[in-house]
Symmetry: D2
Subunit: 404 residues, 4 copies
């Protein structure tokens, strides 16, 4: 039986690739004891990982902005080939190539029944919702690895219909595990539809995915704001308008220059709590993005908030922020009759239709986010470059299965 290798958090700013045990068809002990269920997992499958991406939310851990312990395994954006299945896996088979939603979900609880797989009740004794390789998310082993165990495999796995076709589009399909659905969720919950004008705050991978999702949803104008020129250029490469937030001028003014009016129909906060102030005031200002998107969203509009806000941030700028309490311009939002949708994207709600959009050529997400393949051993460099602001989405290829 082969060993397994996985990316591990080694302390602020540092990750390494280490050997661990090959996965078993068993639930994590914390889940078993916390929920008093059986450890044996006949519903689980083992996947040989084809691709696994580095995510912006991994950076929160690696920057030391969470309580992740040294030794935390990393990786929740997983695509793989099924190599072993439990007795109760009936509808996926060895050899199938599948996308794994980053939200681990049981498919059997009230939240899963309602399509809210991001807050499944049966996968994390600490609170609803779980993910692979993430602090406080249930203790599941990370998937920036060679192999990974996926529980409730019939429910969680999205099988690609054709293996050869899948490998041809693998750099697009790998985005189905997290950022493409996450960006799409931001756009959908903001109300983006045919002809909408949209502002996307943040041109990191999730922001770019939200921008491309807005295009797929038929938006008329998609404007992306960021402070990193390379990222803005990336946004322009697939047809977005851009705003350089380092420049002088208010956001409404800048939007008016582009669109002829200072407001948009819908906006997405693809940044979250590690936001920095606009213009010259570059200090961390955790609610600044949220407040600015309210300012530029039309009355009656919606705000999609896929950017992460946390309940605990040891490195926060003030006492409130350490517990997730931020200075939100709720009076402005109320006056404008805004609605706000927060939380993890429930990936399963969207991944099948986005897969179809990719396979039919309707969506080109790999190009939009500048997918860049690296071997597993170069994961540490990927983390470093991404943290430095590289406008790339790093896709780890642990078995060299992706064509150059």
């Amino acid at each position: 039986m082969p060993d397994n290798r996985v990316v591990v958090y080694k302390g602020p700013g540092e990750v390494a690739v280490e050997s661990i045990e090959y996965p078993k068809l068993e639930l994590p002990t914390d889940v078993v004891t916390g929920l008093k269920i059986k450890q044996k997992a006949p519903h689980a499958a083992i996947l040989k990982i084809v691709t696994t991406n580095i995510c912006g939310s991994d950076q929160h851990m690696v920057r030391g902005r969470t309580t992740a312990p040294v030794g935390q395994t990393l990786g929740h954006e997983i695509t793989g080939e099924v190599v072993e299945t439990g007795d109760d896996v009936l509808f996926v088979n060895t050899g199938d190539i599948c996308s794994v939603p980053f939200n681990i979900a049981c498919g059997r609880c009230r939240m899963c029944n309602e399509g809210k797989t991001g807050v499944c009740l049966n996968v994390n004794p600490a609170r609803p919702g779980a993910a692979y390789g993430y602090v406080d998310m249930g203790g599941w082993i990370g998937g920036q690895a060679e192999y990974v165990m996926v529980p409730y495999a019939d429910f969680n796995l999205l099988r690609f219909p054709d293996r050869e076709q899948a490998m041809e589009k693998i750099l697009d399909l790998t985005m189905l595990s997290d950022i493409f659905p996450t960006g799409y969720h931001g756009a959908v919950t903001a109300g983006v539809t045919t002809g909408s004008s949209v502002y996307i705050a943040g041109a990191g991978p999730v922001g770019l995915a939200a921008a491309h999702a807005a295009q797929v949803l038929g938006a008329g104008a998609v404007v992306v704001g960021d402070m990193i020129p390379e990222r803005l250029e990336q946004a322009r490469s697939f047809g977005c308008e851009t705003i350089d937030l380092r420049l002088d001028g208010t956001l409404p003014e800048m939007i008016e220059q582009l669109l002829g009016e200072p407001e948009v129909d819908a906006a997405v906060d693809a940044v979250g709590f590690e936001a920095r102030g606009h213009g010259k005031e570059g200090d961390e200002a955790p609610a600044t993005v949220l407040n600015s998107v309210m300012e530029v969203t039309r009355v009656g509009g919606g705000l999609g908030i896929p950017g992460l806000y946390v309940t605990g941030d040891p490195g926060a700028v003030d006492e409130g922020a350490k517990h997730g309490t931020l200075g939100v311009r709720i009076g402005l939002g109320w006056a404008k009759s805004h609605s706000f949708t927060t939380g993890q994207c429930p990936v399963k709600r969207y991944n099948r239709q986005l897969m179809n959009a990719i396979l039919s050529g309707k969506a080109q997400i790999a190009k939009a986010v500048n997918a860049t393949t690296i071997p597993l051993d170069e994961a540490p460099r990927g983390y470093r470059d991404f943290d430095g602001g590289a406008s790339r989405k790093f896709v780890i290829d642990p078995h060299g299965m992706v064509a150059a």
Copy 2:
């Protein structure tokens, strides 16, 4: 031509009934000059007011918590009989008894087309949205009066199908102009449906209306929290469970005692920015209600926020709050995947179906909010009693048309 008399703000804590001109079929000058439209209003009607209620949001002005000038006319919860119509009023006629949505709306702009009459673009040059008798809401004359002018009458007026039947249920129907739809909007946007468990923060008239709306929507359990025993008793009188927020214990604990679990499916903030702390800390704490409803709402749940949050509050406890920036536990909301709906209720979206619920006997809103009739001259006493915490909804009867 008869004179008109109206309730007027005379300075903090003081209102009076004063004479003003009889209304004309004309738009307010500010609207005309700000929007560059015709002053003559062939679309308008004059109503002889049958009933007109005192609203909690009037109290914000009367307490001096807004920039309302001395002389501001008051009243936006109007029910009346049509006594004069312009040339372009085609579908309501003299003698019709009608409910007037507090949101003034043109019926012709994009927002009205989308059903968002609370943010109509054509009725207030200062910003979208208008109301009768309210500061910063377009300069429309208040309706705690004998007569009032209603613009765009075919669009704004909801005609009661039968005059006699209407007068029999007038204390219920008078709640259609604002609080019944507002409470219903809170419940609907919170996601209340068949079998839901619901927490309503605040047992003032809007809170009680939200509680009754939740019942009409089929909620299984409706729990109302407040600090005023008389209001809680009122809530119990029509079948709600109640929580006395002055008592020791956390809100989740108190809910668990009632429902067997510490969370509800949906929650409504019927308090807004003038909230006070729970338990013994009775100081004003403007985000405390919003934060507590997040705490007790289940993952994946919705929060309806009909309680008013403002962009300017001269009397606020801190600098942020003066501009409507409050310390919101957005990290908690995000972790729980909550969605939030804010803003004025678009009354027209709901008033017809709620009228039908009243006329068929399905809803008994007058009883739920303890409707209490007073003559126009006693409006000052009504304001005083209501501000003192009386668990009554005061209904002014300016022409003595309501049966004792």
Copy 3:
């Protein structure tokens, strides 16, 4: 190991109670070979049946209007106590009392993911959708029995929170397996909401359930039409208006007499293909109900069609009807901009919230449908009486667990 006894179809007009094998944790052979999946079912549970109801759709088989073979086991409205679970049943336990949705569903396919459990892709090789004890529905053993096997038990079973409370309300809760959700689905898809006026065609158990569901949804007026006086009286017993379709007069006229206008906001066809003509023309007229509900539904309204229409009806009145092709007034529907929702109710979409409505006392479905308990051995008499038009919903109590 105990034997099992089950109601069996013995030929037109005849059923009997016969002994069969005690259930195993295995899938039916047809499903296994048709779908090429494992027979062993670690996901399944065995239930000791507490209550199991006779359904109007069982009558189609017993009247010989289907291709059901002699020997077909019957029963799909099952409530039971878990007595055995497979290795992959994690979240229900021995001793739990649960409702079983009549739609068998895997919880793992695209349709189940979308909440469309009525057309699950993995439970019937012949076509999407399955049920216990029904012809062409996958070969699953019927549940008018002492014991039954439920596959995908964590997904399919709805656990009642408290055993004692459940047994107190068991005659209400037993309606969660089919008719209460089915009636509710009819009402919801017809667009019934607060204040709606509603017409329900048919006062059999599904029609009465739809009527009560409309009340729970806040309808202002609920009108039920049928030709059997006893059933109409039952409808009146819980507050419905009624129309006796044997009388002279058109349906619009009769509705106008009750409501003051000849149309309703929403209508439900709770009859289906075995409909008979209105008034004196009592012959079978398979589209008559569908066409009459279009006639009385307002422009822009919705029609919920839970009444069964079939693709094959050997006993039909004409050639088209034998293949499910009926003379539908589609021109009228189009002119009125109607929308139509057909198909089996996906029970899981509604059963949890309806359970909460029952447990909180908001819904009294047993009373509405006149639930009547009988022992298993008297099932043949129950079938006979029900077919004769008795206004009762027969609930079989195979183990004498229901209090008298």
Copy 4:
């Protein structure tokens, strides 16, 4: 004051351009007397017509398949410049170029309030819903003319934001009055969304518009079926797959050849009641399209039915069809849990967002439907060519305002 000229129905197969009176700001007499409202129309505007298209539904009249009298004025797809406004037109001005929804609507009734402008209650005494230049649609003068009167102009007119930009895209914008929203409505109500596979029955202008709408909505695969090779070629010209219905083979087989499976996620019937049989049986078969789209739509799918079905068809093939009763395979639809949406498209629900999609370059509808400009005098030839199956959408340019 200039005269006016308009296209007039002269008997089966014949139209002519005739002089009529210049329009007045008055309602048609039938509307006034039928609804007992004022004739004077201060809410109306006169438009100088920029473009006005020939519609497939005009052909029903011209073929003599309706009760349209000789002398019926024609034309309901109108785009024009405002040249005169009544006293109560406040928000559009002389010189504005506007699209006119073909549905005439008051903006003041319950249906308009609900966004159902296709069944407005106040514009046609015979039944809800009206249109310009159409039999049984209220007696409004047709708009294949030089000038036309538009009532309730603030509500009905969609103003283009910039005159010069509008004239550049006028051949796209002219499709906003009917076929682009109509096709979009078909696609939306069928449930078309990101990644959907879609079948469009009919490659006439509405079918092509539905196909392009499906693309704008993010469909993965759009398949169009028709019997006219030129129309199929037009569909292929903008990226659709096509099926030639004259060929042998069943529709499911043909879809399987294209998509690898015999079903689609969603389907649109863009043909309606004048349908002809598939393959060699080319006789009129009025429900054949509806039945075939059910056959190829996946379980749980939706069917959008913008194709016209009528309540009276003097030229129908059988007695039922003469009254709009067709042989519909409702048993099949029920077994597949289909939902069906019928009726006129409520143009205002979509025209603003589609305008934005056109102006931003997201939609190219003129190209999709092969817009072809002709002068008013050549309208008779346009009717003839269109009836002959020309794959063109004829746009009449009565004042020579459209650039060559």
